[in-house]
């Protein structure tokens, strides 16, 4: 065991002893990462709050791993007493995006859950306030999902002021002069428009 991280490692041990299937590891000083099966999240958070002094829900995040067809829910807990942040993560199905609320543990979780409901389309059972939060009359797919294309949306919904149609593509101008033909398979590597 690393001498420098006694506190962190002790907490990791405790977690592993209580939740055998938890993958808990040290990220760095003051940071541990805990990965859990989704059904263990509610008991774990309750345990972390009540027994391990992680009383502060510092942050609650959601990441869309569209390629895995999963959402990752990330609860970032802080123990003022231990001065450790635990990044608690679990993955849920993206198609049937459902999870349970933790607002009984931290009332502010309600706000995060409202946001994820709106922005990712995740339903949190037990949270009866999954009402409109930031958006208004939204009828497209939840916009923070990776497959929601902001560029497309803005093209469809906003108009571009005329006057900029004469813009040229530098690469094209040069190939036109030299006669270079970029093969199709290489084109994706010449696209320098970063948006």
């Amino acid at each position: 065991m690393d001498k420098d991280f006694i506190n962190e490692n002790k907490t990791i041990e405790e977690i592993k002893n209580t939740f055998h299937s938890a993958e808990a590891k040290l990220q760095r000083k003051n940071r541990i990462i805990v990965k859990l099966r989704s059904d263990l999240i509610p008991p774990f958070l309750s345990y972390a709050k009540n027994y391990l002094s992680f009383d502060h829900l510092a942050h609650f995040s959601c990441v869309d791993w569209i390629e895995d067809n999963q959402f990752e829910l990330v609860y970032i807990l802080y123990s003022y007493e231990k001065n450790i942040i635990a990044i608690v993560k679990t993955r849920i199905d993206r198609e049937k995006a459902e999870f349970v609320t933790v607002k009984h543990l931290w009332r502010q979780a309600e706000t995060f859950e409202r946001e994820f409901h709106e922005m990712y389309g995740i339903n949190f059972t037990g949270n009866n306030r999954l009402t409109e939060f930031i958006l208004e009359d939204w009828d497209d797919i939840p916009p923070m999902r990776r497959d929601f294309d902001t560029m497309q949306y803005s093209k469809e919904n906003f108009y571009t002021r005329p006057g900029r149609e004469d813009a040229q593509d530098v690469r094209e101008v040069i190939t036109k002069k030299s006669g270079e033909k970029i093969p199709d398979f290489a084109k994706e590597f010449s696209v320098r428009k970063l948006k």
């Binding site: 760095r28 003051n30 940071r31 009383d55 502060h56 829900l57 510092a58 942050h59 995040s61 959601c62 990441v63 869309d64 990330v74 970032i76 003022y80 001065n83 942040i85 990044i87 931290w106 009332r107 502010q108 309600e110 706000t111 409109e132 939060f133 930031i134 958006l135 208004e136 916009p143 923070m144 990776r146 929601f148 902001t150 560029m151 320098r192 970063l194 948006k195």
Partner: protein, 367 residues
């Protein structure tokens, strides 16, 4: 007899509101029975936009999350990326960053003073404090090229070194600001009207403060001594000498006094920084921004902003662009679940006072 309940829409355009948002109030007489925060007037989808932009292009975005205090956003994104990349930051840059962060805290507190006393009906203070804040903005203009959006702290250090003679100007401005503090005391903090309006109002329950996610001056105004700069010192805060003022009471007054005392600490920190700042590099260059791949990883970083713990959760999937940048400003909690709770039982005339004292800032809630 129970008074009849009516609904009152407070905002989104209201001089007492801290930015465009609305609090829907159910009132009985002038007592609030229920409060609901409504945001969405300032949603700019920054987090989504960043997923479509390169890492470097994200830096000019994050500062826009907060007008009064953009720098903690830049600081957080920079530190998160540095943590994921394992990028070193030159010592000089760390000192410069602390200087910027403390200047920005002072500027934010000046703006808060204006708002807080304005909502109490003391209209001279805003005139002064906004003017005095401008002297700090002058410094920012000289250092970063911008008065409000500095776009100055980024991964690897800061964007430019201090200009010639800058340190002296900072010290002079600090002397000036310090000389002004007693004036503000007389006008605001000692003012009977302000005290009357602040004491015992908007009380946060000390026992619940941690669980409810209260941070920053509101937390320290409950007598709880926590400050990210001390709990998890970033940059060079561990090399600087400062104290964390706390006040008991959990009311507007306690929060105000915490901020008032912190201003002195910030001035002292800035002086120490200028004295101790080493020479050398100020930037450890990242790759050419068009080809800057950040290795896969994640980081949660936090900075003590003028309104408390400001957190960023950043995920990289190894590509040119962030996978996720999730901003957690203090107002996300203070302005919704906390505000809705402590407004219950308050008087209508205190809503704006309470909101100001909590540092509620809608652009931070909706980004």
């Amino acid at each position: 007899m129970r008074e009849k309940e009516t609904t009152l829409y407070f905002g989104p355009q209201h001089p007492g509101i801290t930015g465009n948002m609305m609090v829907k109030l159910k009132v009985a007489g002038d007592t609030i029975v229920k409060a609901e925060t409504h945001v969405g007037y300032l949603h700019r989808a920054f987090e989504k936009l960043m997923e479509r932009r390169t890492w470097m292009q994200s830096f000019p975005i994050v500062c826009r999350i907060c007008v009064p205090e953009p720098d903690p956003n830049e600081e957080n994104l920079a530190r998160a990326v540095e943590e994921i990349e394992g990028r070193e930051v030159p010592e000089r840059a760390k000192y410069i960053r602390v200087m910027v962060l403390e200047l920005s805290r002072l500027a934010a507190y000046f703006l808060w003073m204006g708002g807080q006393s304005g909502t109490a009906g003391l209209y001279t203070v805003p005139q002064w404090s906004v003017g005095d804040r401008d002297y700090i903005l002058d410094l920012f203009e000289e250092l970063t090229g911008g008065r409000i959006y500095h776009m100055y702290i980024w991964a690897g250090g800061v964007r430019r070194d201090l200009p010639e003679g800058f340190a002296d100007k900072v010290l002079k401005t600090m002397d000036y600001i310090e000389s002004r503090l007693p004036e503000y005391d007389k006008l605001m903090f000692d003012n009977a009207i302000f005290q009357k309006r602040a004491q015992g109002i908007g009380v946060i329950d000390k026992d619940k403060a941690l669980e409810w996610g209260v941070v920053g001056p509101p937390l320290r105004g409950c007598g709880i001594k926590h400050d990210v700069r001390k709990d998890e010192p970033y940059e060079v805060y561990d090399k600087l000498d400062f104290v964390v003022p706390t006040y008991e009471g959990g009311d507007i007054w306690a929060r105000a006094m915490v901020r008032r005392k912190e201003m002195e600490q910030s001035i002292s920190i800035i002086r120490q920084v200028i004295e101790k700042m080493p020479g050398g590099e100020y930037y450890n260059k990242v790759p050419t921004p068009l080809n800057w791949f950040v290795p896969p990883g994640e980081a949660y970083v936090k900075t003590e902003s003028a309104r408390g713990e400001f957190g960023y959760y950043v995920v990289s999937d190894g590509s040119l662009k962030p996978r996720r940048v999730h901003v957690r400003g203090p107002a996300y909690v203070h302005g919704v679940s906390l505000l809705e709770n402590i407004l219950v039982g308050a008087n209508i005339s205190d809503v704006a006072m309470i909101m100001n004292s909590l540092g509620v800032c809608p652009p931070e809630i909706e980004r």
